[in-house]
């Protein structure tokens, strides 16, 4: 950005409009099928990571992609607003499956083999962002 004689301070930081981007791929090792986004009518159901539960993760996936007891291979790549990338790979077992409707299934997977440092990096990308948000809210509201 060109600078004038007086110090120019950017009005808007473009990074402020970027979210953490997550790309998830899951291979169902048991069925040897990749779990892919599926179209149900006009709606496409993809893979979303919903919840961290210690050594377990909760995903939303297209319905009928796997079953409890299946082994899966998960690859997640997350990119922060500052473009920093974090990758996490793990083998896991599907321990629970729920059918909340709408052509989706919610699965809970138990992590089997993974690199702990990568997992911590991945986890802390979100936990530190949550912390930042809470501090920002407290500051803005004067809590």
């Amino acid at each position: 950005m060109a600078q004038d004689n007086k110090t120019y301070e950017p009005l808007i930081n473009p990074d402020d409009f970027n979210s953490i981007q997550t790309t998830i791929s899951i291979m169902n090792v048991t069925t040897r099928m990749e779990i892919k986004p599926k179209k149900f009518g006009p709606e496409e159901i993809g893979i979303k990571l919903i919840e961290f539960m210690g050594m377990e993760l909760v995903f939303e996936i297209p319905a009928n992609s796997c079953a409890p007891g299946h082994n899966v291979l998960i690859h997640i790549e997350a990119t922060g607003p500052d473009k920093k990338k974090v990758q996490f790979n793990t083998t896991a077992k599907v321990t629970e499956l729920e059918d909340p409707g709408d052509n989706r299934h919610t699965i809970k997977v138990s992590l089997l083999q993974y690199d702990e440092m990568s997992y911590n990096d991945f986890n802390s990308l979100f936990s530190s962002r949550q912390q930042e948000i809470e501090e920002f809210f407290n500051g803005v509201k004067g809590r």
Partner: protein
């Protein structure tokens, strides 16, 4: 609240949530189910939880159920979940005991800042841990429903303010300031009390004290901005509003204020910098585009007025690009260029109207205006009359026709056009009169 132990907090929250009606709005059924389960684990009653799978369902459920607690995603299809907050506030009279919680995969600072500005109670990102949801929602509820001594004192002071008792209110806010390590909220309300007493310098001091405790305190920043504007301290207002824009970037109205103050304080180079900033944003909204475009055109006019035509044209060009075919912007640019005798450049911009807009009023009226002076007077009048017959009533068309009709000594026609134009657009009466006078001068008079 910091002194409450976790067990006590959980008990208080369970007592609160157990009798509250909740609406959970999220397009993902997995998320809805997960959030409902978490709320039930925290003490909510399943029978008091309503699910909404879309914005429209959430709207009707909020109106029907009048929930105390709304938990929703920031993005609900094409609509923003945040707009449900106003609906909840209208439907739920008991706002002191109500909560609005965002649980979303949108982790952008712009979304977070917008939520904080709208006074959302808490913002939780996905993927979440159950612990983070519990902690966040509990804290937000306890703060609101079981306020600590600081908050209670500030609230009592606010009551006195509403009763127009500023001196008594100030005493309470002074007391509140001893009850919190960073009492920015008390400083803000003390400032409000000083304003009530017309003590603007004192109010300014209070807001600044609040910001010294906490540089992003929203109320102190906006209070200071409003005060500077009232005192016509535009440079200071400009500095504050720029800071507000940096911390709360997704507010287009504020961007408009920044642009306006940049012009008022003659900080034209800043506008060019803002444009470069703006172009770096990947997800540019329509509203943001409009404000930036308008500012570029105004900036361009300034450069023309100060005899810097090439710089002006550069900005007009940028405005046209940002406008992405919006015909009102091209029209404004053309009118500006013609007012500064930039005939050829005006013609270039006329050629930038997209093909599909060339039967529209903006293009046809600008075509008449640009060609006026390049074709004969009679041809201009013929073209203009044809547009009126096609029911294209545009002030620019009338201005040209009034002037040329008088020039061609068609005085009755010019007078009729003038009367019609003034009746339709009274705020532009002077412009039409000036056109009539110019035409008369060129004709040698009646």
């Amino acid at each position: 609240m910091a002194n409450l132990d976790p067990k006590k907090m959980a008990q208080l929250f369970s007592a609160y949530i157990g009798v509250r009606k909740i609406v959970i709005a999220d397009e993902s059924s997995s998320s809805r189910a997960g959030l409902a389960k978490t709320m039930i684990d925290m003490g909510a009653k399943a029978s008091l939880i309503t699910m909404a799978s879309s914005y429209s369902v959430a709207e009707s459920e909020i109106a029907r159920v009048k929930p105390h607690v709304v938990i929703c995603d920031y993005d609900l299809g094409k609509a923003m979940g945040l707009t449900l907050l106003q609906m909840q506030r209208k439907s739920q009279a008991d706002t002191k005991n109500s909560l609005f919680v965002l649980v979303t995969g949108n982790t952008s600072q712009s979304a977070v800042a917008q939520a904080a500005e709208e006074d959302v109670d808490t913002f939780i990102i996905k993927p979440y841990t159950v612990e983070s949801i519990r902690r966040s929602i509990m804290q937000a509820a306890i703060l609101k429903v079981y306020p600590n001594d600081y908050q209670k004192t500030v609230d009592e002071g606010k009551k006195l303010l509403f009763e127009a008792k500023p001196d008594e209110a100030i005493a309470l806010f002074d007391k509140a300031m001893t009850l919190h390590p960073k009492p920015s909220l008390a400083c803000f309300y003390k400032g409000q009390a000083e304003l009530m007493k017309q003590m603007m310098d004192n109010a300014q001091g209070d807001y600044m004290e609040g910001l010294a405790f906490n540089k992003i305190h929203y109320k102190c920043m906006t209070g200071l901005y409003d005060l500077f504007m009232q005192k016509q301290m535009y440079s200071e207002a400009y500095d504050i509003v720029k800071k507000l824009s940096r911390y709360f970037p997704a507010n287009p109205q504020r961007l408009a204020s920044v642009m306006r103050l940049a012009i008022m304080t003659k900080s034209y180079e800043d506008i060019e910098g803002f444009y470069r900033n703006f172009m770096d944003i990947e997800a540019r909204t329509e509203e943001l585009s409009r404000y930036v475009t308008a500012a570029l055109v105004v900036c361009g006019k300034y450069y023309f007025q100060n005899d810097l035509p090439s710089r002006a044209l550069e900005l007009m060009n940028k405005a046209a690009i940002t406008a992405a075919g919006r015909t009102k912007v091209l029209r404004e640019i053309i009118i500006t260029l013609l007012s500064f005798k930039q005939q050829k450049q005006a013609q270039d911009f006329l050629n930038r109207f997209p093909a599909e807009t060339r039967k529209g009023a903006d293009f046809l009226s600008m075509e008449l205006v640009v060609l006026d002076g390049l074709v004969s007077v009679s041809k201009t009048i013929e073209n203009g009359r044809r547009l009126l017959q096609q029911d294209l009533h545009d002030p620019a068309v009338y201005t040209v026709l009034i002037r040329r009709s008088n020039e061609a000594k068609l005085f009755d026609a010019a007078e009729q056009l003038l009367q019609t134009a003034v009746q339709k657009w009274p705020q532009q009466a002077k412009e039409f009169q000036d056109a009539a006078s110019e035409g008369l001068r060129k004709s040698g008079g009646k």
